[in-house]
Symmetry: C2
Subunit: 140 residues, 2 copies
DNA sequence: TCTGGGATTGCGAACGATTTTCAGTATGAT
DNA sequence: ATCATACTGAAAATCGTTCGCAATCCCAGA
């Protein structure tokens, strides 16, 4: 069975090896933001003969092919998510590490406007909010 | 002469050594976002017997004491700036590496609102915009 | 279906940024 | 001035990541 990412790789003309197939599957099934070690851990469960170096190489390949996106969440390692058309950002629960994705068109346009006022054209950006859950009585 | 940061250190009850004095001076005089190596380079100009390890240690100390702030600009190393009361963000010129600081109260409140809607209280956040200068004819 | 050669892999070594270890040194309270 | 303690330099260790290289795999073409 062909995973979503595997299809994308074929589309981009990437050579489809066993390990790339497995890593694509792992990433297709992930709904979190695994780092390379975690991807490797999951990949090895499917096929034990996959080295961490290959995972690193494949992640870079997929990133370059714009199939996945690197997310830098401030802990020293790279995390990844499937590439999506819409810009979104991350709210990190500092108590649990849970990551909540959110998008805000207003935020996007404000950011555009700020850059424009400073005389710049945006080529990339990133916003992360670190937070803790509101107490019961503070909920909106 | 006592630099601004040195005064802050004394205030916090930190032991004032020669190297801390020099590093404090370097940081007080900096108006950019130097990384550890750059701080070390500047410190050594004032007193050559300062090791990079001490700079690393002192930066962490000052960061913990909230005297300076770590800025993660996406190039693999930590950069620093003096801690300020007001939140501000960074626009990084990807062509030259120039860093432009900006603040936006609207952005702050929007970010508060987003967190609140998601059921969170903000404990920290960061926004970086990467951009290239607008062409002449695009300037606002 | 078989083959050749370039792409890909696994391993371990190399890497850059940062932290730690440890023995020697300096600081500030007394 | 003394002394316990905190601090320092130098080198080794650590962490995430990349690289070099020989062995292996994939797939277009015969």
């Amino acid at each position: 069975m062909t995973s979503r990412l595997e299809a994308l790789c074929l589309e981009k003309g990437l050579k489809m090896t066993g390990q790339r197939r497995v890593i694509s599957q792992v990433l297709s099934e992930a709904d979190d933001h695994p780092d390379v070690e975690e991807v490797h851990r999951r990949a090895v469960r499917i096929d034990p003969r996959i080295s961490i170096a290959t995972v690193y190489r494949t992640m870079r390949l997929l990133e370059d092919a714009q199939v996945i996106e690197r997310v830098d969440l401030g802990d020293g390692r790279a995390r990844y998510e499937e590439a999506t058309a819409d810009h979104h950002h991350h709210l990190i629960d500092t108590r649990t590490g849970r990551i909540i994705e959110f998008a805000s068109p207003e935020l996007e346009s404000m950011k555009e406007r700020i850059a424009r006022e400073l005389g710049y054209k945006i080529v990339g950006h990133r916003l992360e909010i670190y937070g803790v859950p509101l107490d019961e009585d503070e909920r909106p």
